[in-house]
Symmetry: C2
Amino acid sequence: MTDLDDIDRKLVLALAADATQSAGALGRTLGLSQPATWRRIRRLYDTGIIKGRKLDLDAEKLGFGVTVFLGVKLATKGRVSLEDFERAVVAIPEVQTVEHVLGMYDYRLRVTARDISDFERVLRRRIMTLPAVGNVEANVLLSEEQRPGPLQDA
Amino acid sequence: MTDLDDIDRKLVLALAADATQSAGALGRTLGLSQPATWRRIRRLYDTGIIKGRKLDLDAEKLGFGVTVFLGVKLATKGRVSLEDFERAVVAIPEVQTVEHVLGMYDYRLRVTARDISDFERVLRRRIMTLPAVGNVEANVLLSEEQRPGPLQDA
DNA sequence: GGTGAAACCAGCACGAT
DNA sequence: ATCGTGCTGGTTTCACC
């Protein structure tokens, strides 16, 4: 962990809500000059607290109307099984996120497809044929809401 | 869905990989002038295909070392139950994502905490006391990988 | 889509507190 | 150690063709 002062925390919060804001605009709302604000942001990058900026895309408008979360339990799980599975799963373009987890499942996948029949194709031809795959459970995404996270009152 | 031409698709792909790139730099690699590139990016914003730019933060460096996915099954689920649950759950600062899903669970929550004992506090005092909450299943995040998504060959 | 230009911003000096 | 001022080159964002 790295400790941040009050201003850094406000900067991270403001940028987390909208990373488009400029250093000058942020500084104005915080009562800081533009270079001072910029230096703090750069320091947040340099220390790795901010890893980068990512686009927030509308999957539906891009033609991908179906998002499904898959919980995958491996049938066998030595070191080789995990590595084989991970290598194979990241080669599937429809897989957006691969989460290695501990609990009822071994992996959690976020899969996106054009429609339900497209998803069936991905499931049957790509997911079910993954090495060492055991039980698979699916949850179809209806709606999603992102929250600022626990930093707000930290 | 909105249809994009080849250049727009390349723009979205390039920006999805690194949203820091300038319109000028992108235009140079695509053989387009800087304002033309910028107009295309702005059109992607205006049509809502690009919803915004978000920070990619290192939760661990911010002092939140534990991330847990919770699958929540509601005990009762009329319209009121869903609304009550959603209203209560978005008020918990540790909840980063609320996903309404169809399948074995009704909701999937991404919860982040400082450590395991901090997570236990959130689970016992905030999650388990949510209105209409039934069965809860947990998966602890070990590692996570983001992929570009299926647009690459569309 | 291109060109040109204005306003703005990033990024780096230097000096002050 | 960090802020502020002043500056330069690049970027955004507007004209108009």
